[in-house]
Symmetry: D2
Subunit: 353 residues, 4 copies
Amino acid sequence: MNMFQPIFDVRDLRGGISSLPIANEPIFDVAHLAHVELLTPDLEGTLCFFKDLLGLEETERSARSVYLRGYEEQYHHSLKVTAAASAGLGHIAWRTRSPQALQRRVAAIEETGLGRGWSKGDAGHGRAYQFETPEGHRMELFWEVDYVTPPAGKETLLRNRPQKRPAIGVPVRRIDHVNLFAAKREGIRDFLVDLLGFRERERVVEEDGSILASFLSVTNLSHDIAMVPEGTKMRGRLHHVCFHYTSVQHVFDIAELAREADLKVEFGPGRHGIGGATFVYILEPGGNRIELMGDPGYMIFDPAWRTVVWQASEFPNAAAWTGAPPPDSFLTYGTPLAEEREAVPAAEPLVQA
Amino acid sequence: MNMFQPIFDVRDLRGGISSLPIANEPIFDVAHLAHVELLTPDLEGTLCFFKDLLGLEETERSARSVYLRGYEEQYHHSLKVTAAASAGLGHIAWRTRSPQALQRRVAAIEETGLGRGWSKGDAGHGRAYQFETPEGHRMELFWEVDYVTPPAGKETLLRNRPQKRPAIGVPVRRIDHVNLFAAKREGIRDFLVDLLGFRERERVVEEDGSILASFLSVTNLSHDIAMVPEGTKMRGRLHHVCFHYTSVQHVFDIAELAREADLKVEFGPGRHGIGGATFVYILEPGGNRIELMGDPGYMIFDPAWRTVVWQASEFPNAAAWTGAPPPDSFLTYGTPLAEEREAVPAAEPLVQA
Amino acid sequence: MNMFQPIFDVRDLRGGISSLPIANEPIFDVAHLAHVELLTPDLEGTLCFFKDLLGLEETERSARSVYLRGYEEQYHHSLKVTAAASAGLGHIAWRTRSPQALQRRVAAIEETGLGRGWSKGDAGHGRAYQFETPEGHRMELFWEVDYVTPPAGKETLLRNRPQKRPAIGVPVRRIDHVNLFAAKREGIRDFLVDLLGFRERERVVEEDGSILASFLSVTNLSHDIAMVPEGTKMRGRLHHVCFHYTSVQHVFDIAELAREADLKVEFGPGRHGIGGATFVYILEPGGNRIELMGDPGYMIFDPAWRTVVWQASEFPNAAAWTGAPPPDSFLTYGTPLAEEREAVPAAEPLVQA
Amino acid sequence: MNMFQPIFDVRDLRGGISSLPIANEPIFDVAHLAHVELLTPDLEGTLCFFKDLLGLEETERSARSVYLRGYEEQYHHSLKVTAAASAGLGHIAWRTRSPQALQRRVAAIEETGLGRGWSKGDAGHGRAYQFETPEGHRMELFWEVDYVTPPAGKETLLRNRPQKRPAIGVPVRRIDHVNLFAAKREGIRDFLVDLLGFRERERVVEEDGSILASFLSVTNLSHDIAMVPEGTKMRGRLHHVCFHYTSVQHVFDIAELAREADLKVEFGPGRHGIGGATFVYILEPGGNRIELMGDPGYMIFDPAWRTVVWQASEFPNAAAWTGAPPPDSFLTYGTPLAEEREAVPAAEPLVQA
């Protein structure tokens, strides 16, 4: 029987096996998505959504911002919600794998001119190196982080969990990934791959081979970050942030609670082709699109994973392997809204390291 | 508000942050669990279980062995089933992250004296370095692997999947982890950590601090491998191999099919404390214990994860956070059976590299 | 606290409580939907769908027809599939609650002129009284039925189940309901209520109060039968037949298998407003629309249930409380296809009782 | 092919088909389980369980009692919780199918001497006829009932639901059934069948044919009420009350919340053989055993259903088709506790009709 042919020849790797120099080995310096900052013009509504429907715990609050995390998350926060004139992305924070890894990545970014310098840190983590993607999305890298101790009365017997599971809403377990609008996907994809060590797991291409959408990760998840086409002249816009459940039943449960709360359930429930997770997309009261996923879809353990390529004509299957295709709004709606011309808030003053 | 105290001080890391030399960074050389070889005295029954109930695909067959994989797995096989006088573990294979990583790990193992040398490979993968754990479990490391192309008639439109989802049994998606009996858990734990780069994610300890059970991974899964106490004088025994589903509904579905097939459903359905996955344990017709898990439980992205420690007195919660505690057999039954005195089959002749 | 007002005054019942004569009590003569006959121009494809994907068991086969049932169904069959030039509905069979109940219903139908007389029965059941709805859908009532004994090798230890659960496809448990096109919904609704004792559970009405859709049952299910608008001059067309699962996970599983089998998944997964069940609609190879539901939605135990009324403007919520609204085809596609002008096959010769 | 033999000969019915007199037709006078009254020595704790974990809505409160219902229930209440010295059953209320049905059942009960007379009703329903089972469990029958209007701010767009789905705990949809201890199961079984029109759906028998447990319903559910052996000299004790979810995922979710709330999860999650529902049993803070079921198991539509008979030796399968067998406490623990000798509270004064 010879029905299986290798579809991947390890000799295709640059340099060949025997001669592959260590310098060509992958970068493992970025560990994972640590937190996202969302801007909202309706702080109270947004908090109500994340706390009462998604069961996020508030760990700290400052004048303009509230810090939240899922009940299985150990860091100080995975979501920072900040009052602002417009909805949108504040910043995305990645934790490195070690202090040295942080130094290496900072050195690499500084060469690109996209670095913005060191902040002195924020509630819950130490100093962070801030930079922008070529598309203007603010990001930061850090190493030092604060862990939570259980809030009083929320101690659990489950020793791998920082607190009891909340008895409110349909509580998410953790943040999963972020999806951004980008005018030039090749540029931001290359930035993430070359500078931060992301691997491109899947992409959707036009007939001419140009990238319509790209999905990348540094973890075993199918994507920690993704980019879709920006159709306006705006930069740095957010498509969505995703949080994680255990099962598709939870996806249906939260979709129903969202309906009952008069929130817009924009797309789903369904099952993505790309990544394979079951999903639903809801607009939170501040206007940001939030994805809730029911299981992690497939995971990627193969260290030589070859990027899965979808043609643009296959987009319906890629977007919804089961369930209705996405509505038009899914391809265009983002935050800040295209009508809004307000700038995102000025960055906090930076402390140069 | 000061209710959160950091429970982890990064300065506790050996050497401190600023002075941590690169040489002290983690080993990332082992990528994941690639396949397991199971021995069975009832080859036909064992194949019926894996193919007709778990929906594994057969990719190749030799005189004594059959090679199988889940419908979301891209490698040639994740399970090799080999006819033998007794049930038990054949070997466990890990894929490295690169050819260089393989060379580094081999060099490290060879210093321990536990290395057995290079095999010329097997169906589906290139040459592999074989060795034994301090407890006598056979393992191997390899880099070169064959990928599958879809069997004729099983091509799918889902481009990240190598073939259609089977319409048989309750098909598993992929292999998840392996669990071994070990007389001295510290020894094998240290071997995995120091030589192969595993991180210990959770452990159960006796009052004196000695290790009752240990759970380790190189991936974002809570464990790729685990060890529990060996109560006999036998060495190298298998506790179980685990395969992965999407939801707890699948766990109930396969438990019911197993009942209908007159197989022993030993433990579960339930939800583990350790790892947090929903589970059921079934004895396959050859006698090996197989776990089916419904979701991945929690995942670990924190690069400085501190091992979760359970006291032996907390074992019931650790074993079953929801559901009945494990039956006594779960603590003692393994393969080969304790009564059996037959040796595992002689290793294949090795080709020294 | 007085926030709850009765929304139903029992004195509204015709005649009032104390004077309500026994003759005004509900009719309990029809017990449930016993089976449906589907016509198919692709007998082999249709059987493959029902047997290999839905796990129905074949109990008997005649020259043109095959008799099938779910693994939790005790009667000889709940589905009869008959080869024909066009897809569509053969007939719908209801079992009465007793022999006397059968006699009473037959007497009532005979007065309407819609009766067609007694058949001598069919494989699996005794003589049946055949009739047509005012819209030309063929129905029958019967009392005597054959029960199955487990097929050899399929005996189960589960004493309330006639056989083992199949290890194939995503097996349905039982038939659930049928949905018909009708030009005049009031007429067929009144026929079912007045002659057969159905209760109207929900309805969708136009602004002028005329019925757009009606959902009725004789059981505790929210509907055993439903009617939607016929937009062509054809009569007796089928909208869909529904089969039942346990959970929404199964709905996603079968949707995926249908995608892999190149079948059209027309609508869903989602959750209906009306009835509240999770669902997916698939076109079987013969062209008939089949619904698979994941849980029974809400059940009705109230003997004085007041029909739930939706305005036509609320149809999107009524059709899909969660999930995308139905595609246009859902409102128009039926079997036989609107293009087809072929008559359904001539009725079998009847034996007058 | 003749592999199917009828296992039920309709001519076995008393009198035969043709001569069966109308008087021998089944009684349809009792419609369903309307509500249960639970006694609790810890009113606050019990309310916390039902409101904060099970999401029941409070509709009214009196000096000693609180009235609750599930979010899909239309009546004033399905659960009345009453402060008392001991946990246990207050009473069980059945709604009849019509006012006449109520009169017929009262007349039948009065002949037995087990009637206690008419109460003037309670919050949420009109006058009720009270009686005791031969085992001393208090029951009542009524017809007039109050329906809820949605609490202010809880109005929903889902027209078949009286209010929004709660965003708290894991909210149950409705009450399902009640299970009682009985010294003589034949006696109470016959009482329910002959006087109230229940059908016995399943039973477990000793070797001598005597009844160990019996499961009966008037609805399409597999049981509305069940009886298990009373091993003490006490009478009228409660085994459990069951509430209903949609899926086994909810069963796991509530089991976890119960663990987090330091409640005893006594048995499950698992799947019953009898009835076929997925389940978990939790002791509420007042001490009463509460079952949560994830799907309705199989339903019974057959009007000539033959009682499923399990031998006592098959009890493990009957109790848990999947999952661990019940712990010993499941067979003996009930409320009031066996140690308690306190009488249930004196019945309210009755108003003779």
